[in-house]
Symmetry: C2
Subunit: 485 residues, 2 copies
């Protein structure tokens, strides 16, 4: 009996007692200070409040302490300590996430990655960049552009989000339809495991058949398996020209149908975005845009971009696509005729999410289906909205079959919002899965979608994922409460 | 004590005793017959010999029984039984593998997948195909081509290999340089787990941020985590035209350097293949090709293909690339001027492996490095060859930095072959890793490379992979002896 007690660690006791994570004490703070320097350990209200929210609804969870480590080795020491003391650790990028992945739901430590803000090497010879995760995506894009290279993935928040968050969520963006999502560019990752060990997940090569694909297991794992400290991305040659069309439709479902018609005709636009009338209208109001008329009978728009190195060909493609959309009930096709006009249209598209958020409490769903099922999906969204009494603003990356469904609270009662709406969302996700799709295309599961994971996956699938989590994080200290209920 | 014995299963006993897998008995055969029908259970010498080898060196391992299941449900029953009885199961595609992934090294059951030979659905609307794994890759390519779609990955064995094997090994091929490898096309997989459960790994969508990426974990896992029974692949629009250039170099290292020069100038060929003189010469002899002159001073060739929909542009690109290679010491650039000539050049390239094999006992290494390091890699290969006394024939997908190093036994003594050569290969792989590369680009680890896994990965990385294996296959019955020592 003495022996038995002797071998049980404190963590084991906590687990046996089903106790929550350890509350942080002064001794822990002192330890963290000895690792990072005390100036990077924040327990003040302001810093903790700063790290309490991301862009997900109006959710707030206050961490006990905010750490700003500067190196992988510092993170290693922190993780080793927290793993031994059963302290919850939530990594945080720029806080632009839309599924609550960065929310410290059990308190504990927030590992704020913003000091990891260096682009370490742009390898022009090999079309690769090695970067720390706390670099703003657009900053990275511009840096490689200055070296004559191109990193395509461009989430709407590219001006503020971190590349590390993009990797963690497997982000997309408008260009994904032609160029793929983040996972298609990640070659290799340095991560700190929950036990403090530092590993690379793969190699800096374009093809790799050497063991299991740990790199792709980490991409999109939402900070639940390891802390990303370095990222190697492949880059491609830049594209010289692009053209942008805005097509107004009198029927939103027809706009969705037109998307697939373009692909069936053999064209691959570099962006093919859908915006319901409300999406564009609210965004125009939000950014105070002028110069775009929005006649009363217009129900939706497609924003179509083509890119390439041959301007004549782009004009031919744009002309051909204009012909294709003519078979639907549309108003006049607008071709952006200046850099400024393109910028304005893209700003309107990028700001839809913020515009909706500024308008009302809302929930953002991130449905994705095989592209041809988009008209049916939109129809279903509206039907379920009528059935469950909610209004939705739909927009998104139609070329990928990825429809963002922003559900606005507006006049809905708190009770309906909290009880009836989840049932409606569950029904919607069931239909999405029936159509061959799934419940998140690019925003991740994080906190707010985990209750719906069982719509997309059965118990066997969920158990495999949970056991993989357990392999990486046996004590469950890393980003607890995410992905799994 | 009675209770303790009571709860131990037979498997547990076998594991406790560290015994090998159960030998197959008549009762097992009867069970298999009851699942598949006895006509699909083969214990005769001929069938067992057929499934004893793949294309890896001259290795042979005779299975105890060959099963030809016809459905995922049959495989489920077989796996459940074998898992309970600790019978080793090795899945087999077309047997074209180059790392021994399909070799039944512990005897047991070979699960021959050749009855899974149906293309289930070509979804033209969504640019997707759902296929069984036992379809020959080229058959699949032609079937989707007939429907106006394109599946690019084209391993050298495309005329005989199975698409399921391609997924299991994450195969590449010449077109990978522009179009990516198999992993870039796999959307979703149906697999049978070692315990008999049948799951889908993902959804039929172009982007997916819903839980861990089980799909990419299975791709390239070499049949060690589950048996693939259905595959959903994304397809792309077909390309209308291509041009093919053959460039003879007087220096093999210069040929490797020219590869990167083409990319640095902004071109992305649809294939960029390197062949040492011996590779082409042996292949010409093997296929009895005529019509290509091979002057004595030529050390290597690049085979460069460009494709696209605009023939003028292709000619311009080909002309520009010809200019780029002129800066090196080359003979005259040949442009294939007929379909037949293109076919002949591609046949020569595809047959190099077989030609080398027909010439001598050999080992095929599948090194891959960042593209710009290719000249250094080739130099190192030859240096190590001189140091360790082996001759190598090098060729491969230079545009990806993927160099196949075929080491021929020729005059090497058996002792040197068995002891000195592995040390040389280990040294080579060490250099590959130093250059940022890894030990397999597209052939996999299988049986023959597992002893070198510790060159690419440290103990922490290996343990993560082994634990993932354990999650899927706790009894270790599925494709034992692969990837891990």
């Amino acid at each position: 009996m003495v022996l038995l007690i002797g071998v049980l660690s404190p963590i084991y006791f906590l687990q046996l007692c089903n106790m929550p994570y350890k509350k942080i004490q002064q001794e822990d703070i002192s330890f963290f200070g000895s690792v990072t320097g005390l100036q990077y350990v924040h327990t003040d209200e302001e810093q903790r409040a700063r790290c309490a929210a991301d862009q997900t609804e109006d959710l707030r969870y206050i961490p006990e302490v905010v750490l700003l480590p500067g190196t992988a080795e510092e993170i290693s020491s922190i993780m080793k300590y927290c793993n031994e003391h059963l302290i919850a650790v939530t990594p945080r990028g720029a806080g632009t996430g839309l599924s609550g992945g960065a929310l410290p739901v059990t308190g504990g430590v927030v590992l704020d990655m913003k000091r990891f803000n260096k682009i370490l090497k742009i390898d022009k010879r090999n079309f690769q960049v090695t970067t720390e995760p706390g670099v703003i995506t657009q900053v990275l894009q511009e840096a490689v552009k200055n070296e004559g290279l191109f990193y395509p993935p461009d989430p709407a928040s590219k001006g503020s989000c971190f590349i590390g968050g993009n990797v963690s969520e497997n982000s997309g963006g408008p260009r994904a339809v032609k160029y793929g999502v983040v996972k298609d560019y990640v070659l290799n990752l340095e991560i700190v495991l929950p036990n403090g060990e530092i590993i690379w997940t793969g190699a800096n090569v374009l093809k790799n058949a050497t063991g299991y694909n740990l790199t792709q297991l980490i991409v999109g794992s939402e900070g639940t398996l390891g802390i990303i400290t370095r990222i190697v991305l492949r880059l491609i040659p830049p594209v010289k020209h692009d053209l942008l069309l805005l097509v107004p439709f009198r029927s939103a479902v027809q706009a969705c149908a037109a998307v697939n018609a373009i692909f069936l005709a053999g064209y691959t636009p570099s962006a093919l975005e859908f915006m319901e009338r409300d999406a564009l209208e609210w965004s125009m109001r939000y950014v105070q845009a002028t110069g775009i008329s929005l006649p009363d009978d217009i129900a939706a728009h497609l924003l179509i971009e083509v890119d390439g190195n041959n301007m004549d060909e782009l004009y031919r493609d744009a002309e051909a696509m204009s012909q294709i959309v003519q078979q639907y009930d549309i108003d006049e096709v607008l071709m952006a005729d200046s850099h400024e006009q393109k910028q304005m249209l893209w700003t309107l598209r990028r700001k839809v999410g913020e515009a909706v958020k500024s308008n009302s409490i809302y929930k953002e769903e991130d449905t994705v289906v095989p592209r041809a099922e988009l008209p049916e999906l939109l129809t279903i969204v509206k039907e379920i909205g009528r059935e469950y009494g909610f209004h939705s603003v739909c927009y998104g990356h139609a070329g990928d079959g990825n429809l963002h469904v922003n559900i606005v609270k507006a006049g809905m009662s708190d009770e309906d919002w909290n009880t009836k709406l989840p049932a409606g969302i569950r029904k919607l996700f069931g239909e999405v899965v029936r159509l061959g799709g799934t419940i998140s295309g690019e925003h991740g599961i994080g906190l707010v979608q985990r209750e719906y994971m069982n719509v997309a996956f059965n118990e066997t699938q969920m158990n495999l994922m949970k056991q993989i989590k357990h392999v990486f994080d046996p004590n469950g200290i890393l980003n607890p409460g995410k992905i799994f209920l």
